[in-house]
């Protein structure tokens, strides 16, 4: 079944650790996005990609980095996690053909940095 997946769903980690949040989609979408969402708050775009080897920073500054080596995979990495990185991270994807198409969201990763 075509879908978008994120792992892990929950992550509690200590300060200074390197972490990678995984995002994969099986819908063949060209565009992928990472949003950051604090509890009960709006989503802010932190990274996006329009295709393989294409990545851009979003509207909200983030210390994280992303890569897009394969169409279906868009991982987000924090080299050294800090308590200020505690948040929910949502991955989304959309079809390149027709900018009107909706974004499909993954279930999110809730990150807590101690």
């Amino acid at each position: 079944e075509a879908d978008i997946y994120q792992t892990p769903r929950y992550l509690v980690i200590g300060t200074g650790k390197k972490i990678t949040l995984e995002c994969s989609q099986t819908m063949g979408h060209d565009k992928m996005y990472w949003y950051q969402q604090d509890p009960g708050m709006e989503l802010h775009l932190i990274h996006y990609s329009y295709g393989v080897n294409s990545t851009e920073k979003g509207d909200l500054s983030s210390e994280s980095t992303v890569s897009r080596i394969r169409t279906e995979h868009f991982p987000l990495t924090l080299e050294s996690a800090r308590p200020s990185h505690t948040s929910q991270y949502l991955c989304a994807s959309s079809n390149e053909r027709g900018w009107y198409n909706e974004q499909f969201f993954g279930p999110g990763t809730r990150l807590t940095v101690l």
């Binding site: 565009k31 009960g40 709006e42 775009l45 198409n101 909706e102 279930p107």
Partner: protein
């Protein structure tokens, strides 16, 4: 820069009744799309309804409809015959035609449905 504002942090509705969620936005563009997304507790965000800015006719999807007032830059969501499963955070979002697929979200409205 475009902004989206949802002025109702929380709303409540009785089951089977109708509720309207408000959304205003600010843009200098004339060609764009507007969306309402639903985020149930601990579940994935899903699209509820979308509106093309150049269409005057308000979009409808079953029990969900919008009141799109382009001149006033207003985009409200009406939920008719509310059901317990409608309880969720609702986000209004804006998408420019000229900035790819990026969405700009409002702050969200938490809707509770009373049985």
């Amino acid at each position: 820069a475009q902004t989206v504002t949802q002025s109702q942090p929380e709303m409540s509705v009785q089951e089977a009744e109708t509720v309207t969620l408000s959304c205003t936005y600010d843009t200098s563009e004339s060609d764009y799309y507007l969306f309402w997304y639903k985020q149930p507790p601990s579940r994935q965000m899903i699209l509820v309804i979308r509106q093309e800015a150049y269409k005057q006719q308000n979009a409808t999807e079953n029990r969900f409809s919008v009141n799109f007032q382009k001149a006033a830059k207003s985009f409200s969501l009406k939920i008719s015959d509310s059901q317990l499963g409608d309880a969720a955070m609702y986000f209004c979002a804006y998408r420019s035609r000229n900035q790819g697929g990026k969405l700009i979200f409002g702050q969200g409205t938490e809707l509770s449905v009373k049985p």
